[in-house]
Symmetry: C2
Subunit: 405 residues, 2 copies
């Protein structure tokens, strides 16, 4: 297994591992571990305590919040640390609907919009709200996976409160044009003199794309440290000041009253360190890994010409994602076979994988069940090399040849 | 500051710190940090992934779950890892009410019972449910802080669904007689042939008291690793199999479908290690720290005879808690003064502290506003010595003498 701390493939030295599943989990960066360690050892105070131990912990959380806020050009109080991307999506989506509902509007008079290609943390949250009576609308996406803007425009009504979409789709890597979506919404809200908030799940973005909320034109953003070189179990919901959000869990007054519970100090410190590193180098990361993606496309067409790429192939795809369907293969069997050969890839997103079955994302964009049940996702990372790609595609080509024979 | 890793008071060597706020945060045990480290470095996989990296992470979570389940004599699938005690209380309380509601019972026909001396994670969650229409009842406690069983009995009706109480109160350390509460409930549920579930917040218990659910007679239990030598930001809700619970956040199918989001692998491993250590040594811990508590009481009566102890003084008080009111003092000023002298204590719970003001717990049990606004909480830990107690009480006595002069 590749060990970023020793830069070696330990335990598997005889058979080095090729890890191409960075969309599921990124190796934690050594700098992040170093930043966290004091708060996992001697600096153990509760940030809610008045004494020195508590204030030391509080300063660490404040410093982390300021770093993240600065990287995103928002006020520190607009950064709410959570337990991960899933909680961030739940808080952002339910929290905005709850605030509107508490202002006296029945659920049935609240409309929210998403797509059918979202991560379950968004998709299932919308289903839950639908069950309460909220009107849920799904905006169609094109065969590349991008929202059809004219269709979005057609769905907006004076009752629309929220549009939620992934900045980068976790399965097929399509980047939504947040600026264009924002302009469609703004044009309508100005006409109608109402507020519609744009929430984006940016879990897959920080290593490869700029994330400043105002530049993108979004109002809320979900983040997850485990996807950009930080620890698992910590995320953030970032919001523009104007967005009313109600808490969805109850207890102490931590996180500006929006998210109760003793702050997970070490993880929050790790989040900030990883986020700062990611956002300060996204351009060079994208350049480097974008070249590998081009290399991957080329090798793929040479070695497995029957493979088709799912999602757009253009600048509107994140640089580290390649999602393919290969006619006739069994996705899970292919993943297991490659794993035995030392290569880690996935069929779809880890959060969806537990369910098994075809990819809802690919089904939606292609309307082709055979294609949706033969998907493989390769997601590259900062440590990926052309040798990793050669190895993965050579093994996959062997596997495909074997099952066809 | 005391460093459990070097067993020295680092950074403050010239003026060693006396940390008597273990109810807010415990120092993380070195064994726990060691157990977590691999999962914060090379073993970074997502437990939802099929490949080796994922399965290694999954095995760590499964192993942790099994350890906790074994220590509590429940099935592993009855242990749900969360982001902390607050989320555990929210999931346990709202989740049980939500499951009942989803079975077709209107909120207005569901009754739930707690006390007025609970931690905000319970108190505010009850208030939220009250706002939905659920009937919230508060069972009176006696002047020691224990539930009055005859009053509990009188509150039970066929609509009662849940009783929630802290096993150990975080401010005054009173231990509720969970067995006796359970028997009152059982007697009634058998008569009526209904189910009433008993939830206990056991955040303050694992280092000092046995926690097996069936021995205690409870149906749900909340835990928080940051209170028993583990990391912050990870907790568990443990439930008996018979208890229907609905998830309160939405996403992937992690944690038996009850709590979505990528598992916080390292923190879960740390939770299990710390919990195993706590529960395997609670008796010797209690013996050792119980002797220090007796020493504290004696020194207190010598040095500050005007101090009165809040909460019961008997076996029904956890061994590490001493909560006192001292006529005429300003709690926060006393805490700050002691902090400058190198001693960390608190006024009440860290989660309540942000609000400032008097202790609702002490107000409730004493009905004495002066007493409730002059509280100080000392909470001892495994590293506490008689010297720490001497030092804290001597400094406090100086402070009291000074403000009286």
């Amino acid at each position: 297994m590749f060990n970023p701390f020793t830069k070696k493939n330990e335990k598997f030295e005889a058979r080095p591992r090729t890890y191409l599943d960075h969309a599921s989990a990124t190796p934690m960066l050594p700098e992040v571990f170093t930043a966290m360690t004091p708060y996992l050892t001697e600096l153990f105070g509760n940030p809610g305590s008045i004494h020195t131990e508590g204030q030391t912990a509080k300063a660490a959380v404040t410093n982390a919040r300021t770093k993240v806020a600065r990287a995103l050009s928002v006020q520190p109080e607009c950064v709410t640390f959570t337990s991960g991307g899933t909680e961030s999506n739940n808080l952002g989506i339910i929290g905005v609907v709850k605030a509107r509902h508490e202002s006296g509007i029945p659920y049935e008079q609240i409309e929210i919009i998403t797509t059918l290609i979202e991560h379950p943390a968004t998709g299932k949250t919308f289903e839950y709200l639908g069950g309460l009576g909220v009107v849920v609308k799904y905006v169609p996406v094109d065969e590349g996976g991008q929202i059809i803007l004219s269709q979005l425009q057609a769905l907006l009504t004076p009752a629309t409160l929220l549009v939620s979409v992934a900045y980068v789709n976790s399965e097929i890597g399509v980047i939504q044009d947040i600026g264009a979506i924002s302009r469609v919404i703004s044009k309508y809200t100005k006409q109608q003199a109402i507020d519609i908030f744009l929430h984006i799940d940016a879990a897959q973005a920080p290593l490869w794309l700029p994330c400043e909320l105002s530049r993108l034109g979004c109002d809320l953003m979900s983040l997850d440290a485990g996807k950009f070189g930080g620890p698992k179990g910590v995320g953030a919901l970032v919001h523009q000041k104007r967005v009313p959000i109600s808490p969805i869990s109850f207890g102490g007054r931590q996180e500006q009253g929006l998210r109760p519970g003793t702050e997970s100090v070490a993880s929050i410190v790790g989040f900030a360190k990883a986020f700062e590193l990611a956002q300060s180098s996204w351009q060079s990361n994208a350049e480097k890994v974008g070249a590998l993606q081009q290399y991957f496309y080329q090798k793929l067409s040479e070695l497995i010409p029957t493979a088709v790429i799912n999602g757009v192939v253009s600048d509107a795809r994140v640089v580290n994602n390649i999602n393919v369907s290969i006619p006739g293969i069994d996705s899970e069997f292919a993943v297991v076979t490659l794993d035995v050969a030392g290569i880690a890839i996935s069929t779809k997103s880890a959060c969806s994988s537990a369910g098994g079955g075809a990819s809802q994302v690919v089904q939606t964009i292609t309307n082709d069940t055979a294609r949706a049940s033969t998907t493989l996702r390769f997601s590259l990372g900062l440590q990926t090399s052309t040798q990793d790609i050669d190895r993965a595609l050579t093994e996959l080509a062997h596997h495909v040849a074997k099952i066809r024979a």
